[in-house]
Subunit: 335 residues, 2 copies
DNA sequence: TTGAAAGCGCTAACAC
DNA sequence: GTGTTAGCGCTTTCAA
């Protein structure tokens, strides 16, 4: 397979009897070109089937119109939804995304950042549960715009787009309390992670405090690798801790808990209530359907990308830590 | 935010008292360099924190170590799994992927292909249900390697990685027939799509023929936009056509059918059996769990990428249309 | 084993 | 409004 012979800006210039600079102006919609010249150039562009080489452009202009997206795992529909929002807006602004999976592994994050920098990306959207110091340092080292999407940074060092997780959990917990639950389990994927420790857990604690319920730390379940299987395994512990409801921070884990309850004859929601937080499609497909925080996942991605375009173009950014509105849907896993 | 001052190969050369060519050789692991020279250069590289500029490299070498991945929708876990396999192998071979969503829209596919070509990608992995002629033409026009992942091309014009869909459906249908079903619905997302028309449907017909059951076309349900909701709506039609089982080509649609059956008191699998084909996580989370073809999704992506690396390096490719082994898992949506 | 030098295809001053 | 020209940072002959 022989590679196609490429048509360059020089070929167009020669054929149209103008200079390369003029062709460049036309191709880049620079208006300082006489209409007749422009149409002549355009004609030749079409005739020769000229397509600008973005790599050469990138080298000359130091802009690649490519951004890096670091995602723990595309296979996780929470992140996939964000990625979709990002890509759509990127396309709208003529950017492309280089997508890389990190598995939330800091070594991989470091490595990936380095290759993204080598590729001269114009900006970075970072998703991850945690921002290790080394990664943080690396992230600012190149001095290109960075936005955290659906990922919190308590230090607020970076621009970010999220919902108010603390308030969301507070709302869920309060509702469960109003329904008579006094022992509500809090199931989370690692309290070492800021989003869980600094926001979700606080929302839970706030609700308890408001209702004058004493905090019982045996009701906090810190499941480091939170997934369906681990959720499924959790049933006995939940029950023996005396919990009558659970606030879960991951849809698949919530599904696991519900299935394992039902599989052993415990009726959800009558005997045990469950709420979750991502509103992935799964929450509607499960029986019972799962009550959940409704996060605008696509929008979090979309807004992140929009914010990044502003930063890349040095436009004014009024608020760099954006909180999008959220909802709480009560479905059939709660009374 | 001022952009960081960049260290170039020239800086390293000067500081190490060698030529740019030598630095280039060292950085690229070209072995024709005296060990002492090499270590001296490496030292300076480290000291100056030199990082090669891939854009400049790409311009000079005409290789970007970046490939384009065209995917209908990352949000669909079938494709997300493929994408994950692709990215992992890409990383292993030091490639990055530019990911773009096409929604299976041919206009978008054309547009995206053009921007990928502008970005000088070294290869393309294409996913999509259908290969329109215009897209086909565009796909070969640039003469760079292309692999279809989880996407068939009856004309076998492109390299591809798939499973034997015909045989898979044949296996499922035969099993349902053995269990006594005579009226088996075939639910598919568009017979205009080759994979459904040329492979899946044929597998279904083969099974009927083998069992000497006459084909009844009122049992074929052509749902163009196949998803959970449309599956859910299908129940009445399925029942009034007299079907006692359904072979569905999409997990979410199968979930919809099952939920709607159960929601209206029809017991799956006792009164109606369902099989599906993607083995996404959902099939295990549903109650009843769904019997399904088990496709090695991750591997399809991984093998596609591996194949592409071979093509990009002009290595010999023994078989360009790869069929990976599949299985059929019988779970609780069948007797 | 090393260096010199010519590009790769484009943009961006700057000059006219 | 248009052209000239000097790079952008690197790879790759070719020659030594």
């Amino acid at each position: 397979m022989k590679k196609k012979q490429t048509v360059t800006i020089y070929d167009v210039a020669r054929e149209a009897n103008v200079s390369m600079a003029t062709v460049s102006r036309v191709v880049n919609n620079n208006h300082n070109v006489k209409p007749e010249t422009e149409s002549k150039v355009l004609e030749v562009v079409k005739k020769l089937n000229y397509r600008p080489n973005d790599v050469a452009r990138g080298l000359a202009s130091k802009k690649t119109t490519t951004i890096g997206v670091i995602i723990p795992n595309v296979t996780n529909s929470y992140f996939a939804s964000l990625a979709r929002g990002i890509d759509d807006i990127a396309e709208m602004y003529n950017y492309n995304i280089i997508l890389t999976n990190s598995d939330g592994d800091h070594k991989k994050e470091m490595k990936v950042l380095n290759t993204l920098y080598s590729k001269q990306v114009d900006g970075i959207i970072f998703m991850g549960n945690e921002l290790l110091d080394s990664v943080r340092t690396e992230l600012i080292s190149e001095r290109i715009p960075v936005v955290l999407a659906g990922s919190v940074d308590p230090q607020k060092q970076f621009a970010s787009v999220n919902i108010d997780y603390q308030k969301a959990v507070y709302t869920q917990a309060t509702k469960l309390i109003e329904q008579g639950n006094r022992k509500i389990a809090f199931v989370t994927g690692g309290l070492n992670i800021p989003i869980n420790r600094e926001y979700r857990l606080k929302g839970y604690l706030d609700a308890l405090a408001t209702a004058d319920i004493e905090f019982d730390d045996s009701l906090v379940f810190d499941v480091s690798n939170i997934n369906y299987e681990n959720g499924y395994q959790l049933k006995d512990k939940l029950l023996s801790a005396g919990a009558t409801a659970a606030i879960v921070s991951n849809d698949r884990a919530a599904a696991g808990i519900i299935n394992s309850m039902n599989d052993s004859g415990i009726v959800v929601p009558d005997e045990f209530e469950v709420t979750t937080s991502d509103n992935t499609e799964l929450t509607k497909m499960m029986r019972p359907t799962i009550s959940t925080i409704t996060q605008p996942l696509y929008d979090i991605g979309a807004v992140s990308m929009r914010l990044l375009t502003k930063m890349m173009k040095n436009e004014e950014v009024v608020e760099k830590n954006i909180l999008l509105p959220f909802g709480v849907d009560y479905r059939n896993s709660t009374k």
